[in-house]
Structure formats: structure tokens, C-alpha cells
Symmetry: D2
Subunit: 361 residues, 4 copies
Amino acid sequence: MSSWGNAVKISIFGESHGEGIGVVIDGLPAGEEIDLDKVYLQMARRAPGKDKAATPRLEKDIPEILSGMLNGKTTGAPLCAVIRNTNTRSGDYGNITNAPRPGHADYTGFVRYSGFNDIRGGGHFSGRLTAPLVFAGAVCRQILNRRGINIAAHISSVGNIEDERFDPVNIPDELCERLSGAVFGLIDINREEKMRALIEQCRLEGDSIGGTIECAVTGVPAGAGSPMFGGVENVISSIIFGIPAVKGIEFGEGFNASRLRGSENNDEFYYDGDNVRTRTNRHGGILGGISSGMPIIFRTAIKPTPSISVQQNTVDLDAHSDTTLNVKGRHDPCIVVRAVPVVEAATAVAVINILSEVHML
Amino acid sequence: MSSWGNAVKISIFGESHGEGIGVVIDGLPAGEEIDLDKVYLQMARRAPGKDKAATPRLEKDIPEILSGMLNGKTTGAPLCAVIRNTNTRSGDYGNITNAPRPGHADYTGFVRYSGFNDIRGGGHFSGRLTAPLVFAGAVCRQILNRRGINIAAHISSVGNIEDERFDPVNIPDELCERLSGAVFGLIDINREEKMRALIEQCRLEGDSIGGTIECAVTGVPAGAGSPMFGGVENVISSIIFGIPAVKGIEFGEGFNASRLRGSENNDEFYYDGDNVRTRTNRHGGILGGISSGMPIIFRTAIKPTPSISVQQNTVDLDAHSDTTLNVKGRHDPCIVVRAVPVVEAATAVAVINILSEVHML
Amino acid sequence: MSSWGNAVKISIFGESHGEGIGVVIDGLPAGEEIDLDKVYLQMARRAPGKDKAATPRLEKDIPEILSGMLNGKTTGAPLCAVIRNTNTRSGDYGNITNAPRPGHADYTGFVRYSGFNDIRGGGHFSGRLTAPLVFAGAVCRQILNRRGINIAAHISSVGNIEDERFDPVNIPDELCERLSGAVFGLIDINREEKMRALIEQCRLEGDSIGGTIECAVTGVPAGAGSPMFGGVENVISSIIFGIPAVKGIEFGEGFNASRLRGSENNDEFYYDGDNVRTRTNRHGGILGGISSGMPIIFRTAIKPTPSISVQQNTVDLDAHSDTTLNVKGRHDPCIVVRAVPVVEAATAVAVINILSEVHML
Amino acid sequence: MSSWGNAVKISIFGESHGEGIGVVIDGLPAGEEIDLDKVYLQMARRAPGKDKAATPRLEKDIPEILSGMLNGKTTGAPLCAVIRNTNTRSGDYGNITNAPRPGHADYTGFVRYSGFNDIRGGGHFSGRLTAPLVFAGAVCRQILNRRGINIAAHISSVGNIEDERFDPVNIPDELCERLSGAVFGLIDINREEKMRALIEQCRLEGDSIGGTIECAVTGVPAGAGSPMFGGVENVISSIIFGIPAVKGIEFGEGFNASRLRGSENNDEFYYDGDNVRTRTNRHGGILGGISSGMPIIFRTAIKPTPSISVQQNTVDLDAHSDTTLNVKGRHDPCIVVRAVPVVEAATAVAVINILSEVHML
């Protein structure tokens, strides 16, 4: 299903090479001022061609808002934004029809939809469908900002080249602001050159590279989320895996916690004035599924773009035989860069639902 | 929320030291024979005291089935199973009331429920609440088995000691059967001794240790799952994070894929007779959120038990001041062992929903 | 599905002649004092044998609370209540197995569950399953009462004998209190004798009779509910039709409004001090799906008990031939009487969800 | 919430005088051929100005399909249709802002959305929002038709003038076909003149009149629907009350059943060849919430259009004082006529979900 959420529901539609893509956001509080320039900024961060490390395909992702806003404010009715599809070269994807691209949803989509799905450009599975998600997140983010909640993500690694990590107990608003506007978001901007060099090398080789994204949410009060299946981790992961190429997620110390002793992993509580805080934050701001008031921090693993230029073995679904494939078209050698604002957006949609559930919005 | 699922919904209730715990399973197909001995076997795997590496607290987790079964078969009506609470020593948890245990949900639960939650033994946040989840999973698993689907998990690591990984393209039924009945589940049983030694060392030091669990699902046909937020990864992760202490999940190569090139990570398709398969399975059986017909494989990170005997700093919520805490009571030095059947169970509940959505059940 | 609700979810389980029936209520606010005696009073109103117009079958519907309450208050964890089945005479239903009772769910349940459903006493379709619904409603009702919201229903007709209607603009608290404790709830108690006489006549003839129930909710502030499918009417009707034998529902003037002119049906607004009210209340407290602040009023149609003693034609599902049936057992000649507290209970569960959605709880 | 459904979810957006309105339909089976001319026919039936009894306001409701269809067939991805708003005269609604129209959602919407909702033309509460619902229903209807399921509704009454009722045990396909294409749908077309005369009289008096709509669904196999809250009645009513002005719904004999004896109301079963049928159909094709295989039949009450030309008392929300209102603009004196295809459409969306739940689609 391409819809998500309880209190604030998003319903995303569209195929890469169809008429248009977009999103309906149902359940937004009324009277919220939405600065569309800020929304477009978020969409520009995700758009291809903005950054030299990304695909040169040009999208004019200017969304048209059909409903749900009046005089710059939300009306409380469902907000629908549509983005027209233009500048698409279907020809590039010609031989994919019968020869599913390894690592892509071509084959599984074919089976799921009995061959009736629109495969041009990946159809509904295309990374382009993250544009309406970024739109939705950009709207929710502004509502959250107004309540003191910031969301920021950065490229925590490309291949084996790592950025610094967030200081999990102290994430300044300025850093959040800088990252949430960045095109190539890094905590330590000195790592950019090395990362770009690796990405460029992959491009030259017709190959691609994966990476990880670290995301932080500050300002969430303690007490949000519910036990068991309504936990903050459950909710965030259930939307984050909707971003193409995400293959893993970990909160706080995550997989590293599996190697630690309890005495190393536990975060001790203390009073900081009237507020209970923890001196360390290996729990990533979540205990028992419920926010602790510390920053919520998670990392997500992004696989390398499956579209690569090198020849690959695959099958011919018509001929029922093995064949080879050379994927043409222009592709990001590293989608991690553009996935950063998508992770932030999905997180914003998650957090607005989490807060709404406990009447904190 | 302590309920989960669309087609087959589970609703888990209970607190560690209340009258009882249990689960309602709504939406099971009718006429399914359920072998209760096999269900009890699964519950025994999770129960404390069954394995010397686990807590000595004895639970007699014999569930009573109140509804939904007749003559050994499901009736189609909601199946409710209740497990009575016995042998609980509330006294052990005496000083926790005002002094939240680091790493536990004591503090977040206190805030979430304004101090009205039942904190004895962790209340609704207790690991004991995984018993009804195992029950539900054991029921679903039998229904899946009948359709050729097997689920098996093993301790893939305790601290830095690792088990072998599944061969992701070839997981024999015998291995699944062995693992899904094991108390200390390992692919390479020769690693047991070293793992147990580490766990025992932690126990002696009043400390604990984390680990990872790898889970495989075989026999799921291609084409199950939905794009975006209805993907197999979304669905599985949204239930798996309902297991206490889970802090991360990765599918297929997961975080390792973030370090790979596309040419290394892509899995090439080929025809194996009439079936499309991949020669490798770094995608973990899921592409674009939809099953590929290859085994579904994921790993989950379990943090070390937060209940440790060493003195820890915390706060006194009544006195509004810092204090120290010595957690008493008997605790697992490594919950990974007992979490293995819980991961399998949650996966069974997830898979039965995934298949039902696409009318494959 | 036997579960319902978003913010406060109920999951009802059990079969008439199984081990037990009950309900899990997930999402209740924590710290709410629940007076169990008041809960039992509500259950007693529904229980058979309390009133001479009802079936003499004796149920000891004393629920056991397994979880979710501590020291008389909700803990915020799922509240589970179980009612044991006792005093059931399966023999009475002997010949129903293959010969579905006209007007009952015997045949449709047989098809739905491929013959595996527990048919004894109606199984999961039994009116007995309204006992846990009354329990859930009695809990929710106390939480609502504390916020100034009252729910009261009465027998508005039995056959052609009608009670008075609520004055839709003025429903005093005392009337609500009287009705919500009554066993044979009438606004004009002078009608009781005539109604009882009709019911008794039906009993003597081995027949049954239908009726209607009118329900009012006072104290709901304006602004609750959502447009289109989230309207108060949608939400209330979706739970009310879960009560066996309900075949219709109408809000405010309902079907009568279909015969009126706009000038007759519109309710004019006026200021009553600072409050906007309507001088009449043909809209039943709901405009555009959203509460107006006036009492919410609806009527529901209850069909005559299908279990009657007179011989009826039916089919033999085994023999694939027509046959006749004499239903034995003790049955209510008029379930309307006992359905009154059930309608109130379902309404309480609906209203607590409606208010929670708009953060009014 | 303006979204509805589980297996097939619709999400409706738009305001009467905004940029556009539309719907996203998520979960449609792939490969279903959709004849758009038939879809437009349904939309034309609902459109104003098609019938002289309806408002003369002209809408060019030609939907643009942005996604979810390729080569005339569904792709399985969400189908989005957008209808542009044109020919709107906001001026007509000028004085409504502060003076809520009696019988409308102006006041309740104002409170619900703190005055930020778009009130022009009723905004999101406008009857115009039924256009995308008709679109969605027209798509679902074609999928159902292909499986032998027909849906037809007619004007069963306008004021006190009644049409014939469906013969509940025998609804010929030809009648379904005729009604589902009719603009002024009647079983007995000889009643049209009298009904039109009454409507015209109301128009001349600046008044309006209510009515009822009877709807039938044929071809639904026995065994669809679920007990308690998943019943066919629950599901249908929860969407039907999303149609503006609906104030009541009854299935089969409905409210009339409340006046009957069990011996009069029960429908006896018999074998018609190999099929179990009932000789009468007072149960409206539903027993215990589950379809019996007989036609599903329900009636719904439509209140008179609240927009009338005669002067009415209301309040001035700015001045906090009483005032009077003369509603201008062109309004249907009887929306029942145009609501007929809307009821059919909502029913189609309901039925496709009901069948999908039990894997009958």
C-alpha cells in the first residue's frame, strides 16, 4: 500500500513516466501556515541535477497544490499536491520490459501485478515517487518546527568513507538548520571531497556505491509512542522502509549494542535542573518504544543504486530463458546524497503521527 | 498500541505481575488444525529456566484457550489464549518505583502513563509479554507450514562471538526444522560452548551482553508484499521492533550493502527450470518491498539486558534528585537466546498477514 | 472482524458455549478510576433473567479483569476482562447443526467458515457476545461521565407500542441517570405494562417481536468528528451494526426527514449566552458529520428474535434437501429490552474514539 | 477522515471552490480494463444540470487520470483522478462566512477547523466532493460487473411520493442495467411526473424536499463479510454516511422489522437446485453481518437540501449575536435525484472491499 499514517495519513500516487505524481495528506491540523518556498527548498534538495554527484536528468518538480490550503494556511481538509511528469525518455528503458534489472523491482513488480504494471522508468517503484514524500514531509516539518521539534539528517557514510556522528546528547539547532538545507549534508564538511571522489570514480566505472544516513529528531518530549507495536521504532521503521533502497535501520547504538555489555550500553539518568536526562544516549531517545526526551537518533542503510552500466545476467521473461542486460539511461552513482532529505521527510511524517497519538500536537 | 495486523490481527494484553497475560488472534482462517503440543514447544523455547543460560525464574506458561478452537481446529472466530501469572516476587522490584532502571522503560512508561502504569516486573513492558506473541506465532506458523513456508532463526552472535550465517540461496528444510525446535539455536553447534562461556562470565560479573538474531523464511512465493509502505520490510520491521530490546534490523546484506558497489550487490536472475531465481541473495528475498521467491532473510540487533546487578546512577522521581540503584531480582545475562523463538513468532504473524493481503493464503 | 476502534480499540472474543468470552480494550487513558460495581450494574442490565420479559437462562456474567487495572485505576495497558461460560445446555441446539435456523447466522456462518465454526448456541454470533461489549462500554462511559458526557437509551417501541421520544433540545441529567440504570428503560414508565403484555403474548405464542431503541448523548462539545467517512454518523453506525439483530439506524429526524421540506427540517441557530445552539434538533446533534454541541440522538431498529418455537421450513445442509425445524431452547421473545444497555455501551466506545481523534479526551 | 477502505482504499480531496478535487484509489487489482466512457456516464448522472430537476450550475466534471492506468487497464499502482474546478461563483456565498447556514456544516466546520476551513461553496463539505466518489465507484463497479455483481439504486421516494420497491428475491439484470444508467432512476417510471411536480413546486417556493434511495446489490456470493464489526451492514453504512445529507440507513425490512413478529420476519431457506436461497428476503441479503447469497438491499434517508431561499434565523459568529440569513446561489430543490449514482458508487467501493477481505475478488 502506498498510503501510511493514522492521525495524519499520506496517500502517494503516480508512476515515473505517467501523467503525474503526487500526494494527499489527510488529517493536518487547520490554520498552520506553510511557507511554500521552504517546501520547494526541500524538494530541490531531493531533485536530480541539483548536485553534481547526482543524475543529470532534469526534473521540474514544481508541485501544484489542488486543495487543503487557503491564504497560505492549511484548511484542515486533505491537502493534495500534484507534480507533472516531463522530460522523460522512455526509450532508455526499452529492453527492460522482458529483462528485469538485477536489484530492481522489475521482476517482483511483474509478478505482483501480473505484468500490468507500468514499468517505464520503474513506474510506481521509481525513486521519483519520493518527491511527493518529500513534499509531505516538508509540510509536516514546518508544523513540527513551530512546536520546537527539529529534524536533520546527514550522509553518515558513502562506501567506507564516514562522516562524523551526531553528538547524541547535544545536537545544536544551528547544525539541524544547516543540515536540513544542505544538498550534500555532512557534519564534517571536510569529508565531502573524498566522498565525491569515490562517487565520481563509481560513475566513471559505470558502477554505483551505497552508504548510510544518520537522522536526528530533537525536541520531542518524553512520553510519546506506545508499547509493543506502537513504539517509536516501529512507527519510524515502517515508513522509512518505504524509501527505495533502504535495507536496514538501527536506533541509538543499534547493531553495535549487540556487542556491548549492559554496563556499557545503559544510559544513566540525572536531573538537569527540572528535566530528567541521560548522560549518554545509546538508547537513541527511545526506551520501551517511548520517547525519553533525549534526541531520537537512527541510521539507515542504503544499498548501491542497482542501475549500473556494466553488463549483467538476467532472464528474458517472454522467452523463458537466460539473457544479458545493459541498462541504459542516466542514473545516480550514489543515491545516498539525494536520499538524505527523503529520510528527513519520512521522519517528519512519522513524528507528526507519533505526537498526534498522544495528543502532543 | 499492543495490537498489530490487518488480515490476522493480534491484540496482546497483560502485565508481568497482574492476573494474567494473553493474546486475541482475530482473522485466522477456519478449519486449520493446530497441534497444541507444537505450540507449547515454542512457548517452552522462550520460557525462562529452560536453558541454563537464561534466568532461573520458573514460569508455568501453560496457556488456556478460551475461544476460537473446536475439536483441535480453528473456528474462524477470534482465538484467545490466557496465561496465568504465578511465581512472581514483587518485592525484588521494590526500589524501582521511584528510581527508574537505566535502559528500561521505567522512566518513559512513567511519563507516558502519568505514573499510573503497573511497574511491577516491568508491567506491560516486561519481556514476559513476548509469551503471548510466541503463542500467536506458533499458531500462525503451523498454518504457514501447511503451505510450504518455514521460518527459522538462530543466534547469529553473542557479543563478538558469531555463528555461521544462513546460506542465503539454500536453506534446507531440515535445518529449519532443527532450528525451530532448538533452545540454543545455532547453525554451527560447535560455537555453543564459547557463547555460553561468555554469557556465564557476564552473569558472574552481574553484567549482561547483547547479540544478534538471523531469521529466514523459506517458501514464500514471489509477488507478496506491496510497494512503498506495504513492503515486506516495512511489515516485518513494524512487528519486530515490538520485541523488547530490539534496536536494529537489516534485510539481506543490510548495512553491509552500504559499503558495496552496485556490481557487487546486485543479484543476477536465472532460470532454474521454470522458476526465476537469483544466484546470490544479497537482497534478502525482497526487491521493491515485494518477495522475489528467494528466502527472506533478516538480522536483528538485541541490546544487552538492561537489568544488571552493578550499581548504577539514576534519579529519584519523587525526591526530584539524583540517586543510585542496585537492581535486584534474577535476570537473564543474555536475552538473545530466548528472543530467538520470539523473532520467529513475530515473523510468522507478519508473513501470514503479508500472504493474506495478496490472497496467497 | 471482531475488533473496532482507532484510539481506543476493543477486541472481542469468545463463543457462546466455549470456555469463555471477553474483551481487550487497548488505548484507554491511564489513571482513570473505574468503579467496578457500576460496570457490573451495566452488565446486569444486559444479562438474561434479570427481567421477566427476558430469557430465564441464568448467566453469572461476573467478569475477571486480567490486566490493565491497578488499585482501581486504569494503568494505560490493555485492559482484558474474561467471562466464563457456565450453565449452557448444548443439547438444546442439537438439530441446528445441519438445519440452519431462519433469520440466524447459522447458514451464513457455515459458508463463511466452511463449516468449522462453533455453532453451539450461535457460537461467536451469539447475543451473549454483547456482554463483553457492555463491559467495554461501561468502562468508557465512566471516563466520559467524568468529562460531562452522558449516554442514555430507552425502548422507543416494541412492535407498534411506542414510548415518548427524547425532547431533543433538553435531555436532563436525571433522565439520563435513570435510564442508564434501568432494566426496562422507558421515558414514560406508564407504557411498560402495555409493552410487557405484548411481549408476554408473543412468548405464549412461541413467537417474538421487534422494536426500536432511541439513544442520546449529551455533553459532547461542538467540533468532534471529521468530514466524509470520519463523521459521527459513520463511526456510530459502524459499531452499532455490530449488535446482533440491528437492521437500521437513523440520526435526528432520520427517515422522517425524507418526507420534510428544507424549511421544516433546518434547525435555526441562536446564541444562548455565549453558546451557539439550535432551537430544534432535527439534525440529531450532527451536521456534516461533526457534532454541533446539541444532543446526539439516534434510533436503531431491532428485528424480532429469529429463534421462535413455531415450526419453520429450512434446509438440511448435509442431505442437500429441504426440511423443517423446531427450535428448542429458551429464547427472549423480545431482545429489545436487553439490547438497550448494549446500544449505550457501543455508543460509549464510539464516542470515546470520536473525542480522542480531535484531542478532546 | 476523507479516506476509507482496507483492501481498496480511497482518499478523496478537494474543496468546492479550490483548484480541483479528486480521488486516489489504492489497492485495485492490476490488469482490469476500465471503460472510461462508462465512468463518465456515471459522473454525468451525478453532475448538476443534467436533469431539469437539479441545479442549473454547470460543471464540466471531466476527470484527468494522473496515474494507475496504462493502455486502458489498471496497473495496480494507486489510481489518481483529478477534476478541475471551474465556473464557480464565490460571490453567491458571500454572507455565509459569519452566518452559518442552518442545516449545513458551516458552523460545525468552523468549530472543527477553528475558522480556517475553506467555506466557499461548502469547501470540503460540499456535495461536489461526491464527484470523485462517483469516479471511484464507477471504476470499482466495472471490476465487480466482470465478476457477475450488479449494483442499482432508484429514487424510492421524494417527500411522500413513493416508487415501487425492488422485488427482493428477484432483481433482473435488465432492471439493474436500466437503473444504473438512469438520470431520474425509478422502477415505475410512471411516478416520475408526480415526483417532478413536487420538486418543481418546492423550487418555486424557494424550498426543498427530502427523499429516500433504495439500493440493491445482486450476485454477491454467500459468505462475504465478517461477524460483529466487520459485517456487511457495518461496512456499507460506514461509507454511505459519508454522502452529505444521508441521515438514516436500513437493511432489508429495516425499521419495519421492528414492528413484525419473528414468524413474519424470518426468511425460510430452501434448495433452488444446488443453491440455498430464501423464499422471502426481509433480511436484505445479510444474516449475522454475512452475505446470504440473496440480493443485498438497503434504503437510505436523504434530508431536504438545507440551502433554501427563504429567510432563516441564524447567528453572526463575528458579532456574537443573532441575525437572519438569505441563502443565495443556485441549489437543488431535491438532491435525492443526483444522490442515486452516489449511493451506487459508495456501495461499489464497499462491496469491492468486502469481497477482497474474504479473497473472493
